[in-house]
């Protein structure tokens, strides 16, 4: 039987979290994305493939294509039962790599870039100029578009690599932890985050020394907050209260 990967699997993979729940997490989205592949199987094999797809599944949503692609190869070549083992082995590396690359790296990075654009707008006179506004908005748009170009590229790459590798995916996933993009996004995020505090402190207070100190103190206090769920809301409430005095 030929291994065919319908393009609808890609579009369906966008809804991998569509029916997220605490019992099987992304398993229903995975099942739904896999349906075009299941429908290529002989009728007597479909039920077993559907039941395999309802097993627990939770990885990073952008990298779900690796296992969907591998599933297309394995189901079509009669190796469906091995898929459960591959899923169990794959979810952790895919989850960790995706979380590090996208949630902790590229997403904050694009957010900070957008934020810097507006910060420059706020401190650049004349502030009401529409051209300044559009430039700052352009930075935010470019940051979001850039993020999505990388994100969609990875979604497609994951699907095709998974299909090509099949069972060999387990070995290839180890390589993901050493992606150069992981280190690069961490460095860029560090550099740009570092820029924000001096700019905020100097410019937010309009150069007044006491204001600079107050902004710096507030930021350092927030930076050093204890890792408790109540700490940030308490600090925010204190800021509101301080302003109301």
């Amino acid at each position: 039987m030929s291994v065919r990967l319908p393009s609808s699997v890609f579009w369906r993979s966008l809804l991998i979290q569509g029916a997220w729940n605490y019992q099987g997490m992304q398993h229903l989205g995975y099942l739904w994305a896999l349906l075009p592949i299941v429908r290529q199987l002989p009728k007597d094999e479909r039920r077993a493939a559907l039941l395999r797809a309802t097993e627990f599944y939770n990885a990073h949503p952008y990298l779900c294509g690796y296992l969907l692609g591998a599933a297309s190869t394995l189901e079509a070549t009669g190796q469906g039962p091995a898929l459960s083992r591959l899923k169990r082995a794959g979810v952790t590396p895919l989850g960790v790599t995706g979380d590090r690359l996208f949630w902790a790296g590229l997403k904050p990075l694009s957010g900070v870039l957008g934020m810097l654009g507006f910060l420059v707008l706020v401190i650049t006179p004349p502030v009401a100029d529409d051209r300044h506004w559009l430039t700052a908005l352009g930075v935010a748009v470019a940051a979001t578009v850039g993020y999505n170009v990388i994100h969609v590229h990875w979604r497609r790459k994951a699907l095709h690599d998974g299909r090509r590798l099949g069972l060999g995916l387990a070995g290839a996933l180890r390589e993901l932890a050493h992606l150069p993009l992981l280190a690069a996004s961490g460095l860029a995020l560090g550099l740009i985050s570092g820029l924000t505090l001096p700019l905020l402190a100097a410019m937010g207070a309009g150069g007044k020394p006491l204001g600079v100190l107050a902004l710096l103190a507030t930021a350092v206090l927030s930076w050093q907050l204890p890792a408790r769920s109540w700490a940030l809301p308490v600090l925010l409430a204190a800021v509101f209260l301080f302003q109301s005095l």
Binding site: M25, W133, A201, S222
Partner: protein, 239 residues
């Protein structure tokens, strides 16, 4: 802004936030300044976007975590305060409007994950058994149809909760607006306004998120670069 359009925008942004795509199209730093500009309240939109985005950058949607939803909270605040003619934001001076919008959005940011929590429980208790029964019966057509129903139900719940949140903002808005109006343009102490102080809290959080990672050395290099730029700016302005 018409209430139906406001609810539609909230619902679409919520769907993009986790169930569909996750293209981050509703991220506060992009959507709120754009929407604020379109509605004629550019500063409220800008400060909401800046503060909410930076404040929640370190909240990561990993595994079953329920991080705050800054996009939805910002939308509820901005669109809720913009309802009616003239809207509350039209009647308030710019600074008071910004403070009021922030006072509405920041608490909502931490309340918004309850919508996601409720939807996840509905998915587990209502939709999961139906999907599993369809798979057990080998009915791939029913499995296919079920996802459409899940999305419709998710959109319905998001629209309902957004409608309620907009009503809530409309009710508490005038009260918070009086508080916002009572604040001086720049704070009585140190002449700092609320938005800058909240942004300082947010940037501190961003440093915490970054300092523990590989970017530690890069963080300090960035800080040094920022210091040089800030000094040049200060010299240019005051020397």
């Amino acid at each position: 802004m018409h209430v139906a359009l406001a609810i539609l925008i909230c619902t679409l942004v919520y769907l993009d936030s986790w169930p569909v795509g996750q293209f981050q199209l509703g991220r506060p730093v992009l959507l709120l300044p754009l929407l604020g500009w379109a509605l004629g309240h550019p500063w409220a939109g800008l400060w909401l976007g800046l503060v909410l985005e930076t404040l929640t950058l370190r909240s990561l949607p990993m595994g079953s975590a329920l991080p705050p939803d800054p996009a939805l909270a910002g939308l509820w605040a901005l669109l809720g305060l913009d309802l009616g003619t003239p809207s509350l934001l039209d009647r308030l001076p710019t600074e008071a409007g910004v403070a009021t919008a922030l006072a509405v959005a920041v608490p909502l940011c931490w309340a918004s994950p309850w919508l996601t929590e409720a939807q996840r429980r509905i998915n587990g208790r209502w939709w999961r058994p139906r999907f599993e029964a369809a798979a057990q019966a080998g009915d791939d057509r029913l499995c296919g149809r079920l996802m459409g129903r899940v999305l419709l139900q998710t959109a319905g719940l998001a629209a309902l909760v957004s409608g309620l949140a907009l009503v809530l903002v409309r009710v508490v808005g005038p009260w918070l607006g009086r508080w916002g109006r009572s604040l001086p343009e720049s704070g009585r102490l140190l002449e700092l306004n609320l938005a800058w102080l909240l942004l300082a809290v947010a940037v501190g959080g961003l440093w915490r998120h970054t300092a523990g990672r590989r970017g530690n050395r890069a963080l300090w290099s960035g800080a040094l670069l920022g210091l040089v730029i800030a000094t040049l700016w200060w010299l240019g302005r005051f020397a």
